[in-house]
Amino acid sequence: MKRPLSLLCELTYRCNLQCPYCYNPIPLAQYRDELSTQQWCEVLDSAAGLGVLQAHFSGGEPTLRRDVSKLIGAASQAGLYTNLITQGTFLDDALLDSLLASGLDHIQISIQAPDAELADRIAGTEAHAKKIEAIRRVSDREVALTLNCVLHRSNHDSIGAIVEFAERYGIRRLELANVQFYGWAFRNREALMPTRAQVARAHELVEEARDRLRGRMEITYVLPDYFGDFPKPCMNGWGNEFMTVTPNGDVLPCPAASAIRTLRFENVRDRSLGEIWKSSQAFERYRGTAWMSEPCRSCERRELDWGGCRCQAFLLAGDAGAADPACSLSPHHSIVEALREASPELEPVPRRA
């Protein structure tokens, strides 16, 4: 077993936006009993002791926790590289000062679309103007910035304009991430699904922008889940290098794993992070390749894509131990092929608490 390299701290699932592509779990009320500052500090110390390199702070909206700077300070003190994943609407000068004084290394700010009208419609509230202020503020500071936009059917045609937006604000790193279908996004998948034409056009636009902006802007493009021949190497293998701690302290091998109702996840209030990583049933269940059945077991790609995503296998095929139905070799692949056909008449349901 390897050491964990990356820890995602989901500080809270509270959020003032209502994006329909949110991957947070739908039963949000189960997560209201959030870990205390002291409990999070212990998690961060344990993570550093296990060999974790990077701590990502996310949510929900992580800056809704008043102790976010304190927690980033604790991570930084423990030697971890710190990354704040935020939608930016609370990122005023005072918060930014305190985050940077705590040693924050990197901020990822998301926008919903390049223009306020569409962006605010997707977010369900007026947020875009505040995000632009936050982007300006962060650009002037000594901290790395990545701009992120989650892509789905309503904004897929705006990719060119998103790149222009990033150029206008001097963005060095842009992440264009196709929506991943978990939590609220799974509920909304038919309304969020990009069309085949959109996916094909996006590929061309991204290649063109990468060529044109080489050396000035790095563009990461996260492929759509349901359109490839092979599944994504989810988490680079279950329990291989990544773990998530949810707001209430559950430890998951992947941020979407709570969807797998056949597994029981342990909590840092009951057992140490290290013990959970090394020996909890949920982590052991799909670690490595021994759990695989066909077509994964004898597949030459089994240590490239690790059978794809366990959550997707559970959500689509009803068996977390099956091959990811996104794989063209999966016996359940027809489910994904059917889902690829977008339903243009559907509108997504906004996330709500």
Partner: protein, 86 residues
Amino acid sequence: MSSERPSFGKGVKLRREADGAAILLVPEAALALNPSAAAALGLVDGAHTVDEIVASVVDQFEVEPAQARDDVTALFDRLAARGFLR
């Protein structure tokens, strides 16, 4: 191109492990470094010149000066193109 006295870009950190391994931590990734790359990047501080860094690599490793210069320059240019060095 990186500058004559290179320094790390925003959000870039060199980390030494207990076993001596070196890792360059960058936004959203961690890059494992070989010993000579680690030695070169260990002197990236905005004060040392590229000449001084090359000389230090030549001192520590069995490598011809011209080869060391090529290697260090190529490494620095690759990192500079991604904004990791300035």
